[in-house]
Symmetry: C2
Subunit: 549 residues, 2 copies
């Protein structure tokens, strides 16, 4: 008995073996190799919301990502980790014509970064994006509710804001399609304040919606994103990662936290890191309860709805037609009873690093919900039919077809990220990252940079590791690491974060300056684009199905 | 082994021993005394969101309700059940002066049903209530999303609607105070469409906010509301109610549903009724998963935040001062760091049937969240201080003081009801009451009449009982009961509810007529009130603390 007790005494217990939890464990072990760390995971695999699978490919077999897949150079935390783990990247293919189906069933082609909308819709969209970027730049990432207009913005949905700001159907539809893929929800379901914060944490809306240099869809990882977690688990030591046994009880006493699992495993540690999304935490009984603010906050933080589809091909026939493989659609035609909109919101070229052609499509928000209620056969037909509207009948001659419904993935219960519903942000600062006694929080939802992305998972994991090490063994921390930790760990209930204020004020000033410059450049680019677009308007044709060449 | 199997084979398994689940079991047993029914409950008591406790009273000891307590004559389902169970009612005391603290810290007294707002605020409020009642009367209770403006209304929060409709601070504050108590949330957190539906199911906003004849706060139950569940449990047979053992797994096969509990109990039945709120269902593993629409819907249906306080006294000192004990406040002065508003939203006289004096107060929405993070001592002081602002220093000389934080009540996880967040109603018709294979749904959230109230719990329980009996043993149903059941049981996935349409069209016509008449009468009353109020304006004085006599 006493042996068992000793065996299961840890320095830190991490709950969740996704990128965030494993990064936390890895960061601790890196700074303190002696530290006894265990990572507990309910799934029978590591990787969380990343999952890499083999598919039949033009060369026989290759690997594709059914979960998180993209990174960009401005995502410094994941970039640094990839270097450390020896993982290589390759660019997302974006050359050639793109298609849009926005606010109407017909398809238009375009080649710029911005959909080919009417002049009014473009001006409308431009005006909106300018406002969004101004608003988001004013927010404090630590406490968005400190903004003078925070209560007003939190009390409305993004849809309510879009409906009162936009005048054109096309601009409205472009936003809806984007939100479905970025957050897995409808614009009516998300707090406008939280949407602004999400943009802020990514450095602006351009970074989120584009696939150009430095943006969120810039690069992919050679061999797949799940390798990040697999290599991290190897480095931590496979024995230190317990799979397929979900945590059921977390009991906090004055000195320790005792964690129990469904299969009867029990362990204890002075500190634990919860690196699981809010929905997964609902399955855990906390004794005592988590703070009232956190429980209330989590009530208003559901996970997005997302299904991802990969279709592999012998040839990248779209590239032969000078098509990029990219589409953006707010649904197009309703073809099946029970589904008021078509399945796809966004598609991209998904050709692997080894050159095996493939397309990837996303069903997000209510499209993910209604299409999942259909049979697999009906859904596959609808997805391929939707692909065919843009890329022609060649889409039907595929090598392999796979879909991943993240909504039924245990302990994720959705993807890509948990968003905040209107009115749900009041306790943000008191809940999102503030340690609850001996419990610390990681997970991409708790990131301050690129929250909702793999990079955010890394940043949050590292932050939580520093927090815990600062309480456990501050001597292992470098000088430069300590101030951040001091501030974060000091965020006990009812304490105000005064120093943080000064720091983030400075950050805001620098960010504002950067934003002003990039906004100026953006405006210039947009003006040039609009000028070029309308000067050469006769060249842009509207086609139902685009001809080859 | 086979014995055990036989022993635990039931005709119906009911999950949840609140009013709804017990009514379902009772309704089944009444129509088919042979039916083998078991009711499973996670709490160690029956009653769900009702709970009656003994407190020190002026006569020694008496009983008070810490949960649901009020009923009204228009709540036909609970009235009928009370008669059947032999429970008696008594009127809520509302005579005398009331107080308000709306949009300001100072206190005003009034005697009518409507707070003493300025002429503009009264007109503002009147205009809003008229609009709300017109909108709600147009909704279909079966499918509110069928209304032409449903998507628009669901995409905004109640706050967004109030902010764009109301011009005065007083009218806005009155609404916020009401929503905190009625639904346990902030107006920013709730879908405007759902709020309208909630009003619709109660027959209009007057029924919800007043304590006059036929409204929701008309009567109380002699001896307390938990008796309803206690007597129902007796009638069903105490052995048929298993307490303190939460359901963990619900496995549905082609012929049966197998239910397992935390303590290892297993039982099976051809049909089960889930009579637990959405949040409680999240703790159960469903195999296969509940329908995608239901899961998505439940994601957007958090439970309200609510703390209820009862303070007992030797004498009803407020009655001596011709005060009713009623206040409405949107928070008043912030007195404690971390709590931006005062604790109380609504108070009432809570004198028991036996005449033992008491006051009851409600902390709802964010007030319930922030005040719960304070120590019990600080919270009690703040509550009594807030009472004293209205009723004077006599409030401090109490006999007994009890508070019930419903947020930490296991398997309720909040009170009074689960509301829908903005954008969350899309799958309402497909999820709220539609059976999921062999799983039927009860609970006040699934009611079509007085959802969120005890009466709704009864109505939903009876409806689910009829649904199950129709599939299990239709011969036991009376002719009159069958059509409803046919329609409800026919609501399988992907089917449209055509007949229901015609029926509810007729209902809507009748209800519209009733509404038109009551609206007319309401307008008349309001006009008379406004006339009287301003004719006799000099009599209404503004007082910080009201003098006796």
């Amino acid at each position: 008995m006493s042996d068992v007790m000793t065996e299961n005494n840890f320095d830190v217990i991490v709950v969740g073996a996704g990128i965030s939890g494993l990064t936390a464990a890895f960061s601790i072990k890196k700074r303190d190799p002696e530290a006894k760390v265990v990572v507990l995971e309910g799934k029978d695999r590591v990787g969380g919301r990343t999952l890499t699978v083999p598919l039949i490919s033009s060369t026989g077999t290759d690997y594709w990502d059914l979960g998180g897949q993209w990174i960009g150079r401005s995502q410094v935390h994941i970039i640094k980790l990839l270097e450390e783990l020896g993982l290589k990247t390759y660019p997302q293919f974006i050359q050639g014509t793109k298609f849009q189906q926005l606010g109407e069933t017909r398809v238009r082609s375009y080649t710029s970064e911005i959909p080919d909308l009417s002049l009014w819709a473009l001006l409308d969209l431009h005006w909106l994006l300018t406002k969004l970027d101004r608003f988001q730049s004013e927010l404090s990432v630590e406490d968005p509710c400190s903004h003078p207009r925070a209560a007003e913005w939190d009390a409305i949905s993004l849809a309510a804001y879009l409906d009162r700001t936009l005048c054109t159907k096309g601009a409205r539809a472009a936003n809806e399609a984007a939100v479905r893929c970025i957050l897995g929800c409808e614009s009516s379901q998300i707090s406008f304040l939280y949407y602004l914060l999400f943009l802020h944490m990514a450095g602006g809306i351009k970074n989120i919606v584009e696939a150009t240099d430095f943006t969120a869809q810039e690069w992919k990882i050679q061999g797949g994103a799940q390798q990040i977690s697999q290599i991290l688990a190897e480095r931590i030591g496979e024995h230190a990662v317990r799979l397929g046994d979900p945590v059921t009880v977390v009991q906090q006493s004055e000195n320790r936290v005792v964690v129990s699992t469904a299969k009867g495993w029990t362990g204890s540690a002075p500190y634990i890191i919860l690196a699981a999304p809010p929905k997964a935490l609902e399955h855990i009984a906390f004794l005592p309860r988590l703070s009232e603010e956190r429980v209330d906050f989590m009530k208003h933080m559901p996970m997005g709805n997302m299904t991802k589809v990969i279709v592999t091909y012998e040839k990248a026939f779209w590239r032969c037609k000078n098509q990029s493989g990219q589409i953006v659609s707010d649904g197009g035609e309703a073809t099946v009873a029970g589904c008021p909109l078509g399945p796809l919101s966004i598609t991209y070229d998904a050709t692997s690093y080894n050159g095996c052609p493939a397309l990837v499509g996303f069903l997000g928000g209510e499209a993910a919900v209604c299409w999942t209620t259909q049979t697999a056969k009906i859904r596959q037909k609808a997805v391929l039919d939707h692909f065919a509207v843009f890329f022609g009948p060649e889409v039907f001659t595929f090598l392999d077809y796979i879909e991943k419904n993240w909504n039924d993935e245990p302990f994720s219960w959705g993807a890509p990220v948990s968003y905040i519903t209107p009115g749900g942000s009041a306790n943000f600062a008191k809940a999102i990252r503030r340690p609850d006694g001996r419990i610390h929080f990681a997970g991409t939802e708790t990131a301050t940079s690129w929250s909702g992305y793999m990079s955010g998972a890394v940043q949050a994991g590292e932050r939580s590791a520093l927090e815990v090490l600062f309480r456990l063994k501050p001597s292992v921390l470098k000088e430069a690491e300590i101030p951040t930790v001091t501030l974060l760990s000091a965020q006990h209930r009812h304490n105000s974060i005064t120093k943080e204020g000064t720091k983030s004020d400075r950050c805001r000033f620098i960010m504002k300056t950067i934003f002003s410059i990039s906004l100026g450049l953006g405006l210039l680019t947009a003006s040039v684009y609009i000028f070029k677009h309308y000067a050469g308007n006769e060249e842009v044709s509207v086609r139902w199905v685009r001809d080859p060449l």
